[in-house]
Amino acid sequence: MLEYAIVALVVSAAAAFAAWRVWRTLRVSQGKAEGHNCAKCPAALKSE
């Protein structure tokens, strides 16, 4: 049981992380969040 609990936890955590990345990528695409290489970039705060 312990084994399956650990495996289920790891796989769910990976799935949750992947889902969060999809959500964040969508936010970045709409200029609502900071993305790759854009930390503290005023340019990224204003949509073109």
């Binding site: 796989v11 990976a14 970045v28 695409s29 993305g35 854009c38």
Partner: protein, 814 residues
């Protein structure tokens, strides 16, 4: 205790003036510093402490002027006016001036000083100017400009304390706006236009500054113009056009502005600069004559790139083997620490984590070697010479050097490349460049290429080069080759526009700074490890789960029963052989003879394998194998003499055990293959198999390619997981390369041929497999149309490219 004063200072300057280095020296913020115009396309924030004051420094994109042409220039103006949400309004400016190109640098300075903010000038590149026989008198320049001028050498940390002191003083005194004389008509028109836009300030929501009115008058475009037009309507437009006509007096307004500014700059420079230039060609000029030469320059460029790709193979090999061994050892320790009955958890760790994601880390040395070269060439100043060479080739495509810089950045990663297109003024050229950036072979493709090249391209010499290095070099050109017709179609079709001339600056050569190079390596290596540890890790675990579940108990029982039967049959056979020799199967004499026999066989096998590995010449190899065979026979005779009557049954048992182990391994592999085929991933894979068959792929490669759409490197982890779970692992193979080489299709033939490997590589070279890039294209173009077009176009091209590659390579017998 009093609270520290808080200030905000904008750091402005032309590209490639050492602005980013100064920012890092002042604030200690880590940032990439490159000797290349236009690299800083995004502003960064850092904090500087001055006695009792805490100063936030905004490092704005390097720009030549504040005209509202390109997005970078707009950002600089808006930041100066405090109109960027989330970024405080600066209460001072730090202007960076390159002493070796004073006139051009002062042009931007005159525009910034018109805003009237307290300002300090940092004079950089004083040593470069001195080498060219130019001396700048900082005191005289300061008198002319009316603001402090401090010579600094940021890499050597010279002049920084004086600069801090002047900045501290300036922030506590009001600034004075510079008035550049442009002529009465022009100046009056600016004043009148300022009055007109001030009347709109309630509707605009802010009070426009006079320099904004000047920019509006000269540029007649940009976001401020749009806002005024929106709130002022036709009445504003009529007044605006009237004022522009009055100001111009029939001449170009940009010309009037340039003449006014350069007139003033000329007077300043006359007072502050001494030049010993006697028309001699400097060392830089002589080197440039060679490096930017149409023929020699191009040859040197190609030779340098070949050297880079050769080094990736010859230097990275031992490091990669080291990492592979280390990961293998660590994996074995971790997996062995889990009890054997926890089979699922062991598989998760062995196949998902160590067989999958850890395999990606093996490619770290290659990434580091690539970026070591790029960082050195960039810091040396060579990259802008390469850009100059390429600029000539861009014109027939309707693009200029301005597009080349972002495209060159895209070879590292498409995202900074796409963001770098903000320096492009023309919308259509910018969109074309954005569309082309993902075609450049980014560093995420490197592990894919090197894995397949190392596994399937022979390690042969071709003249002074190595075939593997040449194939890698060719793979980097695949994207470029497809980008050329794409650019032609776009620029002559839907994105037609005029080519704007691009003036490129060739900075002086500098010795690469070890610190700057190390920072690039740390950033790139860190980001690769971070990707492996986050998104690739998560996808690997998900792929493992999809490839492991559901477990069909009937399949497991069927194969376990077969193994059990084999074990029983083998035990009976061993007992029978022992008995026929007059022994029991646990007789110490027989056990010792079997142990010696196995040891001898293992030593012999290893020595044969080493000979096959090390000796290339067929005749020499034959001789060496014959020699080893003789030695083996002699050793067998010695064993026979030593063990007497136990020798014969021991030899028989040894042979039978080897056959038994092979049969058990066969059943285990069949079981693993059947379980994988019945898993979620296996079922989906078989459904898509007809689509990938023409590319020479089986369902496993197809699924690995599909799993790589979020990020390309995922394919390595996925292939590792799929082939490990599918029972393809081989103890003697060198990691994933060996696993792929040994992989078999359903008929027992090798799954990968050179043609399959080339087809996979071409697919990865052309496919838009990067969710982050598509997201950034959406953000930069403000529309889903462009990322959707890019995805569909590149994926179709990748499929057709891989199909043609496989069919042609197979027909040629690869």
């Amino acid at each position: 205790m009093t609270r520290p004063d808080k200030h905000t200072v904008a750091l402005l300057g032309n590209p490639n003036t050492g602005k980013s280095t100064l920012f890092t020296a002042l604030t200690g913020t880590r940032q990439k510093v490159a000797n290349f115009p236009g690299v800083t396309v995004e502003a960064k924030l850092g904090t500087l402490t001055l006695d009792d004051a805490e100063v936030t420094v905004i490092d704005l994109p390097g720009t030549y002027s504040l005209a509202a042409r390109s997005p970078d220039e707009r950002i600089a103006t808006e930041a100066l006016l405090g109109r960027i949400p989330g970024t405080p309004r600066p209460d001072g400016v730090l202007i960076v001036l390159d002493a070796s190109s004073l006139e051009r640098n002062l042009y931007l300075a005159t525009q910034v000083l018109e805003f009237g903010l307290p300002a300090v000038v940092a004079l950089t590149m004083v040593d470069v100017a001195k080498d060219r026989g130019i001396t700048v008198d900082a005191h005289a320049l300061s008198r002319q400009l009316g603001v402090p001028v401090v010579p600094v050498n940021a890499p050597e940390k010279q002049g920084l304390s004086d600069l801090r002191a002047e900045l501290h003083r300036a922030l506590h005194h009001p600034g004075q706006a510079l008035a550049v004389p442009f002529g009465d008509e022009f100046d009056e028109a600016v004043t009148d236009l300022h009055d007109v836009v001030c009347d709109l300030s309630v509707k605009l929501g802010f009070k426009p500054a006079r320099p904004e009115a000047l920019r509006l008058l000269v540029d007649g475009a940009g976001p401020f113009y749009d806002e005024c037009e929106q709130v002022g309507g036709q009445a504003f437009l009529d007044e605006f056009n009237k004022l522009r006509q009055r100001a111009s007096g029939g001449r170009s307004l940009s010309m009037i502005e340039a003449q006014g500014r350069y007139g003033l700059i000329g007077r300043w420079v006359k007072e502050a600069r001494k030049s010993e230039d006697d028309g001699r060609r400097t060392k830089t000029d002589r080197v440039d004559a060679l490096l930017t030469h149409k023929v020699w320059g191009t040859l040197i460029f190609v030779a340098l790139m070949l050297l880079v790709f050769q080094s990736i193979y010859s230097w990275a090999g031992p490091l990669m083997d080291g990492i592979e061994l280390g990961i293998g050892w660590l994996g074995a320790q971790v997996v062995n620490a889990i009890p054997e009955e926890m089979e699922t958890l062991r598989s998760l760790l062995a196949d998902g984590v160590f067989g999958g994601v850890a395999g990606v880390l093996v490619f770290l040395p290659q990434i580091l070697i690539l970026f070591l070269f790029i960082a050195i060439l960039e810091d040396l100043g060579y990259m802008s010479r390469a850009a100059f060479l390429m600029d000539r080739l861009m014109a027939p495509l309707g693009l200029s050097g301005r597009s080349f810089i972002p495209l060159l950045s895209a070879f590292a990663c498409a995202i900074p490349g796409i963001m770098g297109t903000r320096v492009i003024e023309d919308r259509n050229t910018r969109l074309t460049t954005i569309f082309l950036a993902p075609f450049m072979s980014c560093s995420a493709r490197l592990p894919v290429y090197t894995l397949f090249i190392a596994a399937f391209v022979p390690d042969d010499g071709v003249g002074p080069f190595n075939l593997q290095g040449l194939v890698l070099f060719a793979m980097y050109w695949v994207g470029v080759l497809f980008a050329i017709p794409t650019a032609l179609v776009l620029k002559r079709g839907i994105l037609k526009s005029k080519i704007t001339p691009f003036l490129m600056e060739l900075p002086s050569y500098k010795m690469p700074r070890p610190g700057a190079v190390a920072r690039v390596l740390l950033e790139r290596g860190g980001s690769f490890i971070k990707r492996a540890g986050t998104i690739i890790f998560a996808v690997s675990i998900i792929v493992w789960a999809l490839a492991y579940f559901p477990r069909d108990s009937q399949v497991i029982e069927k194969h376990d029963a077969a193994t059990q039967a084999l074990n029983e049959r083998h035990a009976a056979k061993v007992a029978m052989i022992a008995k026929s020799g007059g022994f029991t199967d646990d007789d110490p004499a027989l056990v010792a003879a079997i142990a010696d026999m196995e040891e001898l066989a293992a030593v012999h096998e290893e020595s044969v394998a080493t000979a096959k590995d090390e000796i290339d010449d067929a005749i020499e190899l034959e001789a060496a194998l014959a020699e080893r065979s003789e030695a083996f026979t002699a050793a067998l005779l010695e064993l026979k003499r030593r063990h007497g009557g136990a020798f014969e049954p021991a030899q028989e048992i040894h042979t039978s055990r080897a056959e038994h182990e092979e049969a058990v391994a066969g059943i285990e592999n069949a079981k693993a293959g059947e379980l994988l085929a019945g898993s979620f991933l296996g079922r989906a894979g078989h459904a898509i198999e007809p689509a990938v068959r023409p590319l020479g792929w089986d369902w496993r490669i197809g699924m690995a390619a599909i799993a790589s759409f979020p990020a390309r490197e995922v394919i390595i982890a996925t292939l590792g997981t799929i082939f490990n779970l599918g029972g393809e692992q081989d103890e003697e193979s060198e990691g994933l390369r060996g696993v792929l080489r040994n992989a078999k299709d359903e008929h027992g033939n090798p799954l990968f041929t050179l043609a399959t490997a080339l087809s996979v590589m071409v697919f990865f070279a052309l496919c838009a497999q990067c969710a982050a890039t598509l997201a950034v294209i959406r953000r930069e173009t403000n529309s889903w149309k462009w990322p959707a077009a890019s995805f569909v176009y590149m994926t179709t091209l990748a499929y057709i490219g891989a199909l043609v590659t496989y069919q042609v390579a197979s027909a040629l017998g690869a």
